[in-house]
Amino acid sequence: MMIKFGQATALALLMATTAALAQDKPVAGQVGDGSLKDKTLTFVSYGGIYQDGQIAALKEFVDKSGVQLLSDGPTEISKLQAQVESGNVTWDVVDTGDFPPFVYCGKLFQKLDFSKIDTSNIPKGQISECSVPAMNYGVVLMYNTDKYKDNPPKSWKDFFDIEKFPGSRALEGSGDLSGGMIEQALLAAGGSVENMTVADIDKAIEKVRSLGPDTIFWKTGADSQQLAESGEADMIAMWTGRAMTAVKNGAKYTPAWQDWLVVMDQMTIPMGVKDPDAAHALINAYVGKTSQEVLAKTTSYTPIHKDAKPEVDEVTASFMTNTPDKLKLGYQQNIKFWVENFEVANEKWNALMSGN
């Protein structure tokens, strides 16, 4: 007991010292008591359970710092653009999809000051000049267990092979193209993702088109879940969160984790926010261990703090993407290529999405 007490004192002392040094070196998840009193921050995300979970993850930050946290959304880059252009930015921290912080870095999003955010626990390769990850998830190949029985598909190559694996396919068509999916289509078409060119996009899209006219492009996560639960498509490229919910609801689908596509939301700070320091403090608190555990528990998304151990049930745990075995199988898209060719790639993808 005495020893424990001593340890606690030492820890408290250590924490106090850290807090004193916070000016120089931030610790993820920590914020000074009352440091943001009388200040207001507006956090913007995609709504629903996800944003509720993010707000829950920030509760400790709010309680400690004394900040007033407002919540807005959904994130729309065009709205943000209007704010930045008119010089009246009311969104302080914005959760975005994969690409925007790369495409609009320095234009709509400010370069982050990493002396104010402790990024030491975030998985490697996920931080960019203008963003840190908000959470991780994946696009995973889910196949109908009844349909494929003892000869299940093992990878995206099988997904794109309708001769060896007959049956209907469903993939994401909810808006922006998925770079990872196009790269997998290119690989399946016999192409190479090294030194990709614009012509390779055509080749890959041709491969997607070869899946046939009955291919389903789902528009929302709920849509994809519905496809699985009603058995509407034999193989579905699904977000891990939706795949998990479908399985929990009794869908007879199994994931093939080979080359699951790594996807993440990004935390960003727009250009021209009134109090960049406070915005940085929010992000620094958000990437903390406890915050990430709360986030994972409430949303079932994968935390981005490497030591976070959220208490989740077995099925949820099986769809978390940060375990060593899953990390080994994950496929990271060539973000640089897709950002450089964002517009032309989108145009080609949209042509496919509009039946051309």
Binding site: E76, I77, S78, Q81, G173, G175, D176, P213, D214, I216, F217, K219, T220, D223, Q226, S230, G231, E232, F342, E343, N346, N350, A351, L352, M353, S354, G355, N356
Partner: protein
């Protein structure tokens, strides 16, 4: 103009009670009655529309580049044409389904009429997204309709992710906009005119076609125009019930503006859709204006 203005002035000078004075003041100043609505339209519709139009010519540089891009891209032209085709089908389905329904509403008793009105209005109060998702459940391959078809031993039909599915879903969402104006006109038609036609020797069918239908046309045109124009801008229903082959222009506009931040291109698409709609309505206008020789009381 000057000739009619003179008696107006002299009349307003005549002594009258205050209420009458006020009424006359309003009559002389109709502008002030519409001013609030006009102001709202100007600020909430006119101004943004002007900005969008301006941006379609000014971004990224001044010129017609966005329009050149629009008409140079086969994808855009296909989707534009498809948008009009789907809207026309939806309008047709609404006419065919709405006309007898509105007619029935005028000939039944008050209690049945109330039920019929509720049947139109209740779905009208439910959000379009909810209704669309209900259609997904009905139309999908393993859905209610196909289960029934399979149940009686027939081969299932493809309904979801086809244009047929989109037209069905959109028509259901838009049906109230057809039925309500139709009913508003039909309930003012004096049914004794049909009896008069019968007494003059017309068969029931002929009395209906030559007397009733022409009198109901203003409602039909109003309903058809509302349905058609609303259908052109549909977004959620085609997205959820359709596949790539039923994507409509609004989806492409959304993509240009929201994910690519191409306000210029998105604006040009909007302007093209708007102008095309006006041209089509202008072409249809003579039809609606044609005075009918038979049956018209006015």
């Amino acid at each position: 103009m000057a000739a009619t203005a003179t008696p107006e002035i002299s009349r307003s000078r005549a002594p009258a009670d205050a209420a009458g004075e006020r009424r006359r003041w309003f009559r002389g100043q109709p502008f002030w009655l519409v001013a609030p609505a006009l102001l709202l339209l100007l600020v909430a519709l006119g101004l943004p529309l002007a900005i969008v139009t301006l941006r379609s010519f000014s971004e990224p540089g001044w010129g017609l580049q966005n329009y050149v891009w629009f008409f140079g891209s086969p994808v855009n032209l296909t989707v534009l044409q498809r948008t009009f085709t789907i809207s026309a089908w939806v309008t047709l389905v609404c006419v065919v389904a709405g006309y007898p329904y509105a007619y029935a509403m005028t000939i039944v008793g008050p209690r049945v009429r109330l039920i019929l009105i509720l049947c139109v209005l209740v779905p009208f109060w439910v959000s379009g997204v909810v209704r669309t998702l209900a259609w997904v459940i009905l139309l999908q391959d393993s859905g209610v309709i196909n289960s029934m078809i399979r149940g009686v031993g027939l081969s299932p039909i493809k309904l979801i992710r086809t244009q047929t599915g989109v037209v069905i879903g959109m028509a259901q969402v838009l049906l109230p906009f057809m039925i309500l104006p139709l009913y508003a006109v039909m309930k003012t038609i004096d049914l004794r005119l049909m009896q008069a036609a019968r007494s003059l020797g017309a068969s029931p069918a002929r009395a209906f076609v030559q007397v009733y239908v022409p009198l109901s046309l203003p409602g039909l045109y109003a309903g058809a125009i509302i349905v058609f124009i609303l259908a052109l801008g549909f977004y959620i229903t085609p997205a959820l019930l359709g596949g790539p082959r039923s994507t409509m222009l609004s989806t492409l506009i959304q993509n240009q503006v929201l994910s690519l931040l191409n306000w210029g291109k998105g604006g040009a698409m909007g302007v093209v859709l708007l102008v095309a709609t006006f041209v089509l309505l202008a072409l249809a206008a003579p039809l609606t204006r044609q005075p009918h020789k038979t049956g018209s009381r006015r």
